[in-house]
Amino acid sequence: MLLVVFIATVVIGLYMAWNIGANDAANSMATSYGSGALSLKQIIIIAGILEFAGATLFGSRVTNTIAKGIVPINLMDPSMVSIGALSAILAAGIWITIATYYHLPVSTTHSAVGAMVGFGLAAASKGLILLGDIQWAVMEKIVLSWIVSPLFGAMMSIVIFTMIRLTLIERVEDPIKLEKIFGFLQIGTASYVAFAHGSNDVANATGPIAAALGYLGQSTPMWVLMLGGLGIAVGIATWGYKVIETVGKKITELTPTRGFSAEFSAATTVIVASYLGMPISTTHTLVGSVIGVGLAGGLAAVNLNIIKRIIASWVLTVPIAAGLSIVIYNFLVVVL
């Protein structure tokens, strides 16, 4: 029975990874397509390879946080942990599917974290752990990182774009030629974004799998991360390219100098978060960075209403994912 639960967790984890590739990775990569810096084929290849590399080489810390940073799985019976992990990944997967269907700007990260909290609460209600055993201090840090990361991305892109503006745009003879040069540099930042994205967001799929393994040691098995990275790469190749095309066409205003500034800032923020083991939303960080470019006077029109929508979406996502997770957990405990 445990094996069936585990296989189910892996399968849904793969679906989650596919979804991350199809939507989140694609959104991040679309900035390079919109500016015309890269062709669709180039983006898919770069994104596929570097998302995989980021996930495999740098994805363990965030995976670790989601797997056992919030819920103290080492205090529980392995079978209960397996059921909890399955509930969490199922809850996050269902919510993401609904949100995607209704085009809500929901973060997979917030769903995964919310779902793990739900698993913790369900376990506490069954008396398996104490409510105080849930790592609320870690949870506070995570929530704080959700607020800090877009702000950090914005501040950084203000500085970078202002620097580009003052030292290059203001001084060059031909601004169009400058944009072309930055188009080449964007190959670098696009790769950077893909690597950073893979390193952070893979955890939303691999975190519950790692938890289900009942693993207690220091590092996540490599094959779990590879599986997550593979899922993301397949997501980009099988569906993400459509998203890149659709999104890219709408953001042609993000010229290479602007795209470079936003991508570099977002990727750096995400990499720092991955290093600190903080599961943050790459897309929300990218939105913060784009707004930063706008604040630095680089964009013709930035819709600030998106900030309200994003805040609303994550205020909703955590309780919904948690609630779903609790319901599924209680159901599975009775059924299995």
């Binding site: 995607t100 269907y101 503006r165 745009i169 569906w239 929300h284 630095a296 964009l299 930035v302």
Partner: protein, 227 residues
């Protein structure tokens, strides 16, 4: 394209392309008005009527574009220029096509035959000057894309600022021609007094085209400097 979750909404709808389109409509209306004035002086009143209808159509289109621009710049939209500056630039630009329409309509109210040559000549001169001013003005508005690309670099702003006095000068030339025309009209004994009334209102409206062009250029300057 159902299964998609994206944050493209962060990119608002840029009003600048529409502003450009709006300026082009004013330019087209002014060029048609020139044809109408020329047709009027050779007493081809049929053509005047047709051109007037076309100008009315352009003015209506310009109003629609103006409405679209206004509708799409809520306060939550962050622009590289001040929102109020943009709106107060849009207004005189819209008045250019309004004045073109009024002038064209006046031409259809009454037929005047045997206009004195000197008045014909100066009317032609006035309308040519207006077209010159509008041409330069369109060049100024063309700068928007460059200004946006360089995020209003000092060099680009300077280049745009140099265009504004040229428009102001052409507007001044128009004033001088108008003054001359008024004198000629009021002192020409062989024109019917009702014709005088029509010509005076016509010249006043044509003057408004130039005035609004200069005003819009001035507002454009305020907008790009206000940044």
């Amino acid at each position: 394209m159902k299964f998609i979750r994206s944050v493209t909404d962060v990119f608002g709808k840029s009003p600048f392309k529409k502003l450009h389109e709006h300026a082009e409509l004013a330019g087209k209306a002014a060029k048609l008005l020139k044809e109408a004035v020329m047709a009027y002086t050779i007493e081809d009143f049929e053509k005047v009527n047709t051109l007037c209808k076309k100008i009315e159509e352009l003015e209506y289109q310009a109003d629609l574009v103006k409405g679209e621009i206004r509708e799409h710049i809520p306060k939550s939209l962050m622009l590289p220029v001040d929102r109020h500056d943009l709106l107060s630039f849009l207004k005189p630009q819209d008045s250019i096509s309004d004045a073109c329409e009024h002038a064209a309509q006046i031409l259809t109210f009454r037929k005047i035959s045997n206009l004195p040559d000197v008045i014909k000549k100066d009317m032609e001169c006035l309308v040519n000057n207006i077209i010159d001013a509008i041409d330069v003005y369109e060049g100024l508005v063309d700068q928007i894309s460059e200004l946006l690309l360089t995020s209003f670099s000092k060099k680009e702003v300077q280049e745009s600022l140099e265009i504004v006095p040229r428009i102001e000068n052409l507007e001044h030339q128009c004033d001088l021609i108008e003054k001359r025309l008024y004198k000629e009209i009021f002192n020409c004994d062989r024109i019917d007094p009702v014709d005088v009334l029509l010509l005076v209102s016509l010249i006043k409206e044509m003057g408004e085209i130039a005035n609004n062009t200069a005003r819009a250029a001035d507002r454009f300057r305020i907008m790009i400097l206000g940044k």
